[in-house]
Amino acid sequence: MENKGKKFLINNVVPIVILILIVAAIPISGLSNGYLIQEMITRLSRNSFLVLSLIIPVVAGMGLNFGIVLGAMAGQIGLIFITDWRIVGMEGILLAVIISIPISIMLGVLGGYILNKAKGREMITSIIMGFFINGVYQLVVLYGMGNIIPMTNKKIILSRGYGIRNAIDLKAIRQVFDRFIVLKVGQFTIPVFTILIIGVLCLFIVWFRKTKLGQDMRAIGQDMEIAKSSGIAVEKTRILSIVISTVLASIGQIIFLQNIGTMNTYNSHEQIGMFSIAAILIGGATAAKASIPNALGGIILFHLMFIISPRAGKELIGSAQIGEFFRVFISYGIIALALVLHQWRREQENKAERKKLMEMQLSGGDK
């Protein structure tokens, strides 16, 4: 029993430490509980879809997919088009999704193909891949749109006549999902429809794990060689997992941006991978294991910290900027820490495993 408790503590060291930090910092920050709860509702509905899109590649043993920025870019391209065509409201969002899906499938296949060539170092490769595709995205959006790709809406085109402006006002679709069905409970506004969509995604993930494809992915995630020798098409399945993740991320980015209401054409996607991954890691996920509770819990912890730390910093040291940098530090630091812990723990486990095996053999031979 005691052992179990200890194991739980060790396995969840990251979320527990962060939780303690937050609990300590809430009173210092002087933010009211009501404000925090409302913020959490908003941020959960805004970010969950993106963070959840990370889960499937983890199941397939490909680590945390920084390649979701590829999906985010696809989503943004969808949004640029509907803004250009002036398709508004629910129709606009749905059309943006429809446009972004084929793009994200393409990018996902490309990403999966690249990651298959970098087995064992998928994460760093997916980061660089994100940077690389970002360059291509810039090429298309900044130089191609309005030039090669016709654009009609002068409002989103740079004054030089081509290229999309830095910021696009998405007021035509702003919070369309969030306001579609709204529930007011006391002082809180709950965007029921968005939460429903997220719920459907959660169900999808639960269901997906139980399909043949999901089972294959789990098998590949645990041991690629054995999966291969049992006849599972390893490479293809890995590509599929990245495609699914990328498509989900594109939808996630659209949900994210409809909530925010403006889009920074060249920045909105950049931080998405990092923030989503930091969130899921804070929630206790590792590069080899990630669940829906990890994702949702992680978002709450990460964003609580996000809101609180600048305020706490200001109250404590008199500088909001320090809190701000502290927040950045935590975001990056937590990824580093979680990865180090994971790798180290896995090594320890392997060692323990070997030791156990050896002892068994020794005592077996000794009888």
């Binding site: 139980k210 043949k212 098998a219």
Partner: protein
């Protein structure tokens, strides 16, 4: 019961010029257990690979003769063809997904699924798994084995025996499995576990499944097989009903008497000063585990270590050098040698010429001369020249080259120059470079593992002669580990046979070869 299942006729296979199998004829009836025995390199695994349709067979030009399965000529291009036809194989290494339940492993990639309307759109793989059905199937398969185990256990948390059972259950769970190949299934099991497995095999055979049972434990063969097939040097020596033979006879067939007794140079008895002593020594080297073994090495002798592959003979030297996790006790020159510290044995004058020349023995991208000098530079600070009054210590390339040239001449290393990279050399010359490296270190105890593996006859002779010469000239104690008994008998003063991680016995080289064989197959006495 005498229905013919597999018929192998005039099967031959060669890799390049090397004939590995020659005119093999075997008949296997339904429900029969065939014991397949032979020394390392006798052709057992090639035979199995051929039957199982491993791609390597095809890539190297296919095979001659014919294999008929259920009366039909077969020519599998991949193991999946073999599986589909009804041949299952359990390899020596587990191929189970560690985090899955036994059930999931048993039905791996053959899971039962429920139909789904999405199937039309996304293909078969979108179907949901039918876990009840899967459990039922796994239950039935495990039931056939006649063992008690919970199919819901996670593989990671299972005892080894259960993993083995899971593997077998997976093979027989295929609806049409008719022939099962078990490659050393008892090697990792304790005696009592092995006993259960043997019972299971009998049960399966009674149910009509034929089994090819590969093992080095002759008593197991005697116990359960209907027929024994002995291979030696790629030739089928004997195919005989088990009843009609004895383990002694089988050993004779395996080892063969055809050797010309190699002339062994006897030395006069020296005073038996102990140089190295191993007590309850164990080494966790994957595939070559050493299990609490005791061994004494006398000063100035050449000790041969032999045994079948996978029995742990290679683990000893690697363990002494601290390259794998080690336990027990090493006493060298009367002093306790701390374990798992690779630098210490080197400093004390022990050196290993590794069996893994390319992986451990050499820096393939490094030049010959660098390779030879490397250890001496790192351990003994040799070949270092001081510049500017000792501020800068650079490697003295001239003396490195001089040393290398000396050995190139002495050992007849064939190379363009001493600056050639080691990776470009042939196997034999690489081995000579490894020896040169060892000699440069001037060790007190030189361990050489598989010194002649993969090198041509001429080089082989030279390597062995050099070792013997070195031993005589400098009085260096040498432990030579080899799979080739003949070679050990030619050079050693004493030969220890390692079986299942322990010393099965130590014999003088001129002992009857059958004695060695019996030690290897675990039926000889134990006087370790």
């Amino acid at each position: 019961m005498s229905e013919l299942l597999l018929k192998i006729e005039n099967l031959s296979k060669s890799f390049g010029e090397n004939q590995v199998l020659k005119d093999i004829n075997i008949n296997i009836n339904k429900g029969e257990i065939i014991g397949l025995v032979g020394e390392n390199g006798a052709g057992k695994s090639t035979l199995m690979k051929t039957i199982f349709g491993m791609p390597v067979i095809h890539e190297t030009g296919g095979y001659g003769g014919s294999i008929k399965f259920e009366g039909k000529e077969i020519d599998f291009h991949s193991p999946f063809d073999a599986l589909a036809a009804g041949i299952g194989m359990v390899h020596q290494e587990f191929s189970l997904i560690p985090g899955f339940e036994a059930t999931e492993n048993i039905v791996l990639n053959r899971e039962s699924t429920k139909n789904s309307f999405l199937e039309v759109l996304f293909g078969d793989r979108i179907k949901k798994l039918d876990s009840l059905e899967m459990e039922a199937r796994a239950g039935v398969a495990v039931g056939h084995l006649g063992v008690k185990m919970d199919p819901k256990t996670i593989i990671k948390e299972m005892p080894v025996a259960h993993k083995q059972f899971t593997e077998i259950a997976r093979e027989i769970e295929r609806e049409n499995t008719k022939l099962l190949v078990l490659d050393e299934p008892t090697a990792v099991l304790t005696e009592s576990e092995a006993e259960i497995l043997l019972q299971t095999m009998k049960r399966l055979a009674n149910e009509g499944i034929s089994i090819i049972f590969i093992t080095h434990r002759l008593n197991e063969i005697m116990e359960i097989s209907d027929k024994v097939v002995v291979l030696r040097d790629g030739i089928l020596i004997k195919e005989i009903e088990t009843k009609k033979t004895s383990s002694h006879e089988i050993t004779e067939w395996m080892i063969g008497r055809s050797f010309t007794e190699s002339e062994s140079i006897k030395k006069e008895e020296k005073d038996q000063e102990i140089l190295l002593e191993l007590n309850k020594f164990w080494v966790d080297m994957p595939g070559e585990t050493v299990k609490k073994l005791d061994l004494k090495v006398y000063k100035g002798e050449i000790l041969g270590i032999g045994g079948m592959a996978g029995q742990g003979k290679l683990g000893i030297a690697n363990g002494i050098m601290g390259l794998y996790t080690t336990g027990g006790n090493i006493v060298f020159k009367g002093e306790n040698l701390p374990l798992n510290k690779p630098k210490l044995p080197l400093k004390k004058g022990i050196f290993l010429v590794s069996e893994d020349r390319k992986g451990v023995g050499l820096l393939l991208e490094g030049t010959i001369e660098d390779n030879i000098a490397y250890s001496a530079i790192q351990i003994k600070d040799e070949f270092i020249k001081k510049y500017l009054g000792g501020i800068i210590e650079w490697v003295d390339e001239d003396s490195v080259e001089k040393n290398a040239l000396e050995y190139i001449e002495k050992l007849e290393i064939r190379c363009i120059s001493s600056k050639q990279t080691a990776g470009e050399l042939s196997g034999g010359n690489q081995q000579k470079v490894c020896l040169a490296k060892a000699f440069t270190m001037k060790p007190e105890l030189l361990m050489v593992s598989e010194p002649t593996r993969g090198i041509d006859v001429g080089a082989k002779k030279l390597v062995l002669e050099t070792l013997r010469e070195y031993n005589e000239k400098y009085g260096t104690t040498i432990i030579i580990t080899s799979s080739e008994l003949e070679e050990l008998r030619g050079i050693s003063d004493r030969i220890a046979i390692i079986t299942e991680g322990k010393v099965a016995g130590i014999l003088p080289p001129e002992s009857d070869i059958i004695k060695f064989g019996e030690l290897m197959v675990g039926i000889g006495g134990t006087n370790g």
